[in-house]
């Protein structure tokens, strides 16, 4: 009896000592795998939608202003602000170990990499389930996004690596990609844009999405950078003749309200969602906005980048864009309310001591930029911890008009071509300015500067003038600030080497790939 029960027991336990085969099969329960995804338009469109958003964040956050504006002489970062490289973008001392160099390199290549992975994924999907319109559209959209990412990369860093298949690169084991000469990078961009132009519809399938003319317009701009004025003119003209775009009447609202997002003037804009908060909402007012506006509600409004005295002085008398782009002493907005300004925000620079902090501003240029500043949300604007919904305009119709005018000017010194004048004067008219009778290299550059001030583009305009002209432009700019006693602490920056037209490749990348220290090679 004793033995019986013992062996019954033993037998039972030995039975337990084995598992079914799928015991060690535990697929992810948190999301789908690639095999079962991207089988319809909604899934593909949502994926390409992400390319307009969070992956740009590390560049948009600060590098956007530091590179495009501080270097261009439109903005300055107050002394010692480590967030903006302690002012190195104002004096061309940017080094390869700089935080924003790394951040912009990373963010821009992330956009390119994500776009490329999607291109490859959709191509592979098409090879399995057959070509589908939504897959082709997805590929075209992703290639546009890759093009714009590389456009920023090459304008910022010059000769740069191109990676067309990151997965293959990862598997190869040899990650040492060389730098490619800039003109080939531009060619790579144009190839992507040609594909996008061919396969995107004339009208965006959803507001904010790129369309055929976004590609044409960006191509026009890219041609400008390689001085291919004929093609630039051709592409700009296609956009203008399409009749699908117009200048948006309310310039001020365009930059301070998400209600104007994706308006008639926008060909391509980064899309932000305040609801997503950090990395998903538009962060610009967090660093550029004044503390008196944002601090009571959020720990934000660092005023880390401010307009320079030089840009403030650059506006012609009567140019309404000055008031639409810059907050100066006395600026008010009755819609913006907070604890300190229950009756509406007032920009007040009569600062005396620390007890003024909450209501008065003390900063070196006695003004703040206004573009992409939307306030605290008191006017119904969605603001989350300082982040907003307002889109970042990357390519506007006014840009197309000025590209068109400039492409007609070409390499000449001036032009009175009627079409060119008409294009440029449309832009001036909205700003309340009289038309010009002649377009010169100087006045069109000036027009671009004030039209696109604080939109992260002016440095690239200066840069493409070439080293000799850029050197003169930079040397003439006032990059100083007001002393506490009201006198101007005048500072002038200088560039001494053509290499300073581009930022150094991040130190950490060069360490990983010494080939980046070598001379650039041809891609095509």
């Amino acid at each position: 009896m004793k033995y019986n029960s013992k062996y019954n027991f033993l037998f039972l336990i030995l039975l337990l000592a084995s598992c079914s085969k799928d015991f060690i099969d535990r697929p992810s329960e948190n999301g789908p795998t690639l095999d079962v995804y991207y089988n319809n338009a909604a899934e593909v469109n949502a994926a390409t939608g992400l390319l307009y958003n969070t992956i740009w964040f590390d560049w948009q956050d600060k590098a956007f202003h530091a590179i495009g504006e501080a270097q261009g002489g439109n903005m300055l970062t107050p002394n010692g602000d480590a967030n903006y490289g302690s002012g190195v973008y104002n004096n061309f001392k940017v080094q390869s170990s700089d935080v924003l160099v790394a951040a912009s390199w990373k963010s821009l290549y992330k956009v390119a990499g994500n776009a490329t992975v999607l291109v490859k994924t959709f191509e592979e999907k098409a090879s399995i389930i057959g070509e589908q319109p939504y897959l082709t559209q997805g590929i075209a959209e992703a290639r546009f996004l890759r093009a714009i990412a590389y456009f920023y990369i090459t304008r910022t860093f010059g000769d740069v690596p191109i990676v067309e298949d990151p997965v293959a690169l990862a598997k190869s084991g040899d990650y040492r990609v060389p730098r490619y000469i800039q003109s080939d990078v531009i060619q790579f961009i144009i190839n992507d844009l040609k594909f996008a132009e061919e396969h995107l519809s004339e009208v965006s399938y959803q507001p904010g999405r790129v369309n055929k003319y976004s590609a044409s317009g960006l191509m026009a701009k890219a041609y400008l950078y390689v001085q291919d004025y004929a093609n630039a003119r051709l592409k700009a003209q296609e956009v203008i003749n399409s009749g699908k775009f117009a200048l948006y009447a309310d310039y001020g609202k365009m930059f301070t309200s998400s209600a104007a997002n994706n308006n008639s003037e926008s060909l391509f804009a980064l899309q932000w969602s305040a609801a997503g908060g950090y990395a998903i909402g538009n962060p610009i007012q967090i660093y550029a906005g004044p503390s008196t506006l944002l601090k009571p509600d959020f720990d934000r409004g660092y005023s880390s980048v401010l307009p320079t005295l030089d840009i403030v002085r650059a506006y012609e008398d009567g140019d309404k864009r000055r008031g639409w782009s810059i907050m100066e002493h006395g600026y008010s907005n009755p819609d913006w309310k907070n604890v300190n300004f229950p009756d509406g925000f007032l920009y007040d620079t009569t600062y005396m001591d620390s007890n003024d902090d909450a209501k008065k501003i003390k900063n070196g240029s006695r003004c703040n930029s206004l573009k992409y500043i939307v306030g605290t949300g008191s006017n119904g604007e969605l603001v989350n911890d300082g982040f907003s919904d307002i889109c970042t305009y990357i390519l506007r119709y006014s840009d197309i008009l000025l590209i068109y005018a400039e492409s007609i000017l070409g390499s000449g010194n001036s032009t009175t071509d009627a079409q060119a004048l008409d294009a440029m004067n449309q832009v001036r008219a909205r700003a309340g300015l009289a038309g010009v009778a002649e377009i010169t290299k100087d006045n069109i550059l000036h027009e671009r500067r004030v039209e696109f001030a604080f939109e992260g583009d002016y440095w690239y305009d200066v840069q493409r003038q070439g080293f000799d002209r850029a050197k003169v432009i930079i040397a003439a700019q006032e990059r100083g600030n007001y002393n506490y006693d009201g006198t101007v602490n005048s500072i002038h920056a200088s560039i001494v080497s053509p290499s300073q037209l581009f930022l150094p490749i991040p130190l950490t990348e060069v360490q990983a790939n010494p080939k980046l220290n070598e001379a650039a090679v041809k891609y095509y």
């Binding site: 690639l34 939608g49 998903i280």
Partner: protein, 1065 residues
């Protein structure tokens, strides 16, 4: 209040116990057991001859029995000692007994995986730590207690924060992946990590978030810790054992009269040293000295401040170190009951542990309970269970970062107040329109932010042993670990009402709930038989394990009235919900044979086959074999036992273990990351690049060991040498950024592959000596010495390297390991002094040739042009390491190694009559430290930041021999990572001094207490080191080997003073 209640309850219990035992009727006898060396024998069985009455000796060798009036004799038996019979007369009530050892240490039992064997038959490298070694150590977790106690195990506290993570490295660095050993508590492997919410969820930097996995286990419940160090021992744990196995067994009841124990200690903790920072007077002087330097530079302006004009009339200002450090308190109370009668034994305990840290805001509390039961159901069936219950509650202060509490404390201006006059938190002080101090007040940050990890855990096993056919035992064991994690991160919105300035914003609450359930079912059959000179022990078994972790994280902000409730938060845009499920399973078969012949030759061979859910169908299974042999030379006929060498044994072993832990789930597949909030709506994007070939990481260890007993058995030495090679490491490919694939949350993650090779060679030496053994006085020592040499032999590409970064956007490289070097090496420029004269500037020959511009450049900076635009007098000169005439990226090189040359521990135990004294020293030699804080505190780049007093001797025109570089706000030449930041991290530490006194039994008998010991301990009394920071013991940030010994505002280990008592009834 709570703790007062506790102690009252305990006092009451003690009293009750006293009265209860006062009932005893027969004559009591108090005895004491020692071995010939004078050491107390714990757990020996004492029986009254001819009866079943008996007891066991306690930790001090004491026992108490009731003797019949007419006297009798006692039978004393103890494993490894000769059984002794002692007659007791009619009048004695006090007796001392000395037991002789029976072939001494050879019959000690050593725990190996799935069983235990006599030490004589051990063939691999196993170290044991007994309850005795853990005594009087005032620590939150048992992992801390291993420091300096075990040869071959390097232990470093990652932080002085109570309950913080500990780096435990068994024989060097096994892999680029996790390096923490597998802890097996009562057969339950601890697979879950204890991790708190990162502080960056509330803004700013993340800080350390990996906490100690053992902090939820009460160290007082531990009976023994055995560490399997080489693969021949580990292989039976297969795919979980790559980093070594630490087997922890908890206490069990012993047959005999029931025992009641109360153990307690209380104490306080202080910081070991403070740094010499400028006070307000010195700071004002420093500030004044900068005014001409900045204003004459031609770029920048510094206002002269009236208040600072005469520093001697100023006070000391805010001492931020005083503000953030405090005196911590520590206490522990434990009540235990154990015993057994007939066929049942039991042990049960309750413990309360409470510690507040030396940095404000940090604390740790634990409640734990334990039940262990064993019962003989039938003559052939034993069943038993162990249950450990605990709840730990840890509050974490943000440390390790330049905007963390200690980091800010180091450079925050003494001109900025902690609080404004009305008692509210202040941020910056504005003096004449200049703002001094950091916008983040570190005191507010530490006190107001509440980041907490609460873990409730039930862990244990239930088992049954069936004996049959004489030599067979079938063991069935069910193990479980049920874990509830409640993580929280909370910060209120705080505004200084006086100034309107925001101190902390926004109010935000993040709550995380995690449910972890692990279970395993083990069945194994053991055959054990001795036939004459042969002895065989064979094992075959099966194990199925499964773990599920289910996580839910919700956050809301803008909380009504700063209420710490998710209900108080805003809906809509600012709230977020995420969830995750992480299933895992493994099924294994294993077998092992141990054979010994005539106590001379022993042999062990094992194999394990693991099938894991971590891999795709191509590579689900891994095989892990091992073999080892032992040869007891001293038992050979040709060996002449001498006084010099009485015992010698040689061990040789080789084995293979694996690692299947990956950083994510299902990495063999390309997974889609779903996102819910995006401008164009929810969707999914690839989260990684799948690798269907992903497979096992393999570790092969070869071990040779020698155990010798020397000098008339006064000294025992064990020496082990080993070589450990890890191949096919599971590595996430670290691609250059331009690939577009990365490792961040919103990157498409680069593929995880098997690549590379890591090699560790080393030597472990353990020496135990019995220096003096007299009746009233004994002195015993123990020395452990560990040395390893780590080399990363290869990665997936000859140019690839393992890199560790600092700052946002990975801007600053601090460690970089190329194939051929040890992991974690610091990387930067080599310091070549300062440019002190114009002649030295002129002699600099660095030129840029790329654009043909004839300017001397260093890393983009001209040399000698002027103080603003370029490298100038007083700036750091870096070495042209590669000799190409230029200072650039190619001159970056290895500037330090965080791996120690060796670590050691020295224990001395003295007993004199009823006193015992132990002295424990511990140290580490030859490791370098990257003192990253110097980048803020010694680099003079911002007039508003405080500095170390050393900057007073910086280079100026009047002090060209200054030791530090000039003030330089214009460019970062002097702030680059360089050998200037690398310091010698060697240290020798007086780790523990403990003095105990056992109250005389004659006194105790009157109150029916069988034993009472009181003791005083000081831990971490003094550290001898050249390191200039707080503490040379830095560990690694979040256990990451890329951040070993990087000091970025580290939480120092405290000095602890305690008094304690152990009472037994």
């Amino acid at each position: 209040m709570k703790s007062i209640l506790h102690s009252k309850a305990i006092a009451l219990l003690i009293l009750l116990c006293c009265f209860y035992s006062a009932h005893s009727q027969s004559r009591p006898l108090n005895g004491n057991l020692k071995d010939v060396k004078g050491d107390a024998l714990t757990g020996a069985t004492v029986l009254i001859k001819g009866t079943a009455d008996g007891t066991t000796s306690d930790a001090n060798g004491n026992f108490q029995l009731n003797i019949p009036k007419d006297g009798t004799s006692l039978l004393i038996s103890y494993l490894g000692y000769k059984t002794k019979e002692v007659a007791v007369g009619a009048v004695e009530n006090q007796i001392s007994i000395i037991l002789e050892d029976d072939a001494a240490l050879l019959d000690e039992v050593v725990v190996i995986g799935f069983g235990s064997i006599r030490k004589a038959n051990v063939t691999s490298a196993i170290s044991s730590v007994s309850e005795k070694d853990l005594e009087d150590l005032v620590v939150a977790g048992a992992d801390q207690a291993l420091q300096g106690k075990v040869a071959g195990v390097t232990v470093n506290n990652n932080s002085g924060q109570p309950g913080a993570g500990i780096s435990v490295r068994v024989r060097g660095i096994t892999s680029t992946n996790g390096n923490e050993p597998l802890y097996v508590i009562d057969g339950v492997p601890i697979l879950s990590e204890r991790r708190s919410i990162e502080h960056n969820q509330l803004g700013g930097q993340a800080g350390q978030s990996v906490q100690s996995p053992l902090a939820s286990l009460n160290p007082n419940d531990i009976e023994s810790i055995d560490i399997l160090k080489d693969a021949s021992a580990q292989a039976i744990y297969g795919a979980l054992a790559a980093n070594g196995v630490v087997i922890i067994n908890t206490k069990k009841g012993k047959a005999g009269k029931g025992k009641i124990g109360y153990d307690t200690y209380v104490g306080y903790q202080t910081i070991q040293k403070k740094l010499d920072l400028l006070d307000l007077r010195q700071y004002a002087g420093y500030y004044n000295s900068l005014i001409p330097e900045i204003n004459n530079s031609g770029s920048g302006h510094l206002d002269s401040i009236d208040e600072f004009k005469n520093p001697s009339v100023l006070g000391g200002g805010t001492d931020w170190q005083d503000a953030i450090f405090q005196t911590g308190k520590i206490q522990s109370h434990q009540l235990s009951f154990s015993g057994g009668s007939g066929k049942t034994t039991y042990y049960t305990s309750l413990n309360y542990f409470d510690q507040t840290g030396i940095v404000i805001g940090s604390a740790f509390k634990r409640y734990s309970g334990r039940i262990s039961l064993d019962h003989e159901v039938r003559s052939w069936l034993n069943v038993g269970m162990n249950t450990n219950l605990s709840q730990s509650n840890q509050r974490i202060t943000l440390t390790d970062g330049s905007d963390a509490v200690i980091g800010i404390g180091l450079y925050n201006s003494p001109a900025a107040p902690v609080r404004s006059f009305d008692g509210e938190y202040a941020t910056t002080a504005s003096i004449q329109g200049n703002s001094f101090g950091n916008p983040k007040n570190p005191v507010a940050l530490a006190e107001l932010r509440d980041v907490r990890n609460v873990q409730s855990k039930v862990l244990g096993n239930v088992y049954g042993d069936i004996k049959f056919l004489k030599h067979f035992t079938l063991r069935n064991e069910f193990n479980y670990d049920f874990n509830v994690t409640q993580n929280k991160a909370f910060q209120p919105l705080v505004r200084n009402e006086q100034t309107g300035i925001v101190v902390l914003s926004p109010s935000r609450l993040i709550e995380e709930r995690g449910l972890g359930l692990y279970w395993a079912f083990k069945t194994y059959l053991t055959f054990e038989k001795s036939m004459g000179k042969h002895w065989v022990n064979a094992l075959i078994g099966h194990e199925a394990q499964e773990s599920n972790y289910d996580q839910l994280i919700a956050s809301r902000q803008n909380l009504v009235l700063n209420l710490e409730s998710l209900n108080a938060g805003e809906g809509g845009t600012t709230q977020s919900i995420t969830a995750g499920k992480y299933p895992w399973a493994m099924e294994s078969y294993f077998g092992r044979v141990n054979y010994a012949y005539n106590d001379k030759y022993s042999l062990s061979a094992s194999i394990r086959r693991d099938g894991s859910s971590s891999f795709g169908k191509n590579n689900k299974y891994g095989y892990f074999p091992a073999a080892s042999v032992g040869w007891t030379i001293s038992n050979e006929p040709f060996f002449n036992e001498s006084k010099m060498i009485s015992y010698a044994k040689l061990r040789l072993g080789v084995g293979s273990v694996g690692n299947s832990s990956t950083s994510g789930n299902n990495l063999y597949n390309t997974n889609i990351r779903l996102f819910s909030t995006a401008p164009f709506g929810a969707g999914g994007i690839p989260s990684n690049v799948g690798n269907p070939d992903l497979s096992w990481e393999s570790v092969v260890t070869q071990n040779a060991g020698l155990d010798v007993t020397l000098f008339n058995k006064i000294a025992e030495v064990s020496v082990d040498v080993y070589k450990k090679v890890s191949t096919n490491m599971i590595l996430q490919t670290q691609l250059p950024v331009y690939s577009g694939l990365g490792t961040d949350w919103n990157d498409i993650n680069s593929p995880t592959t098997n690549a590379g090779e890591m090699r560790n060679t080393g030597i472990d030496i353990a020496l135990r000596t019995y220096n003096i053994s007299r009746k009233d006085f004994s002195w015993r020592s123990s020395v452990v010495f560990s040395h390893y040499k780590n080399e990363l032999v290869a990665l997936n590409d000859p140019t690839a390297s393992l890199r560790g970064y600092k700052e946002y956007g990975n801007a600053i490289l601090v460690t970089n390991t190329y194939a051929g070097g040890p992991v974690g090496t610091f990387f930067g420029f080599v310091d070549d002094g300062l440019f002190r004269t114009q002649a030295e500037l002129d002699a600099a020959t660095y030129t840029v040739d790329q654009n043909g511009v004839a300017v001397k450049y260093i890393q983009g900076l001209e040399v000698g042009e002027n103080p603003v635009t370029g490298t100038y007098l007083g700036d750091v000169r870096y070495k042209d390491v590669n000799g190409d005439g230029r200072i650039d990226d190619k001159d970056l090189t290895v500037i330090g190694d965080p791996n120690p040359d060796f670590t050691y521990g020295i224990s001395n135990t003295f007993t004199y009559k009823d006193f015992d004294l132990s002295l424990f020293f511990q140290g580490s030699q030859g490791a370098d430290i990257l003192n990253y804080t110097l980048r803020s505190t010694e680099s003079s780049f911002n007039p508003y930041l405080n500095q170390q007093a050393t900057v007073l001797d910086r280079y100026t025109a009047d002090n060209i021999d200054g030791s530090l570089p000039r003030y330089n706000q214009w460019h970062n030449n002097n702030r680059r990572v360089s050998s200037r930041m690398v310091e010698d991290g060697s240290y020798f530490r007086i780790q523990n001094i403990s003095l105990g006194y056992n109250l005389p039994r004659t006194l105790l008998n009157r109150v029916n207490i069988s034993n009472l010991k009181i003791y005083a301990t000081v831990q971490n009394l003094y550290t001898f080191t050249k390191y200039s920071g707080y503490d040379p013991e830095l560990g690694s940030f979040n256990n990451n080997i890329r951040y070993m010994n990087v000091d970025d505002g580290h939480y120092p280990n405290p000095r602890t003073w305690t008094i304690g008592a152990n009472v037994a009834f």
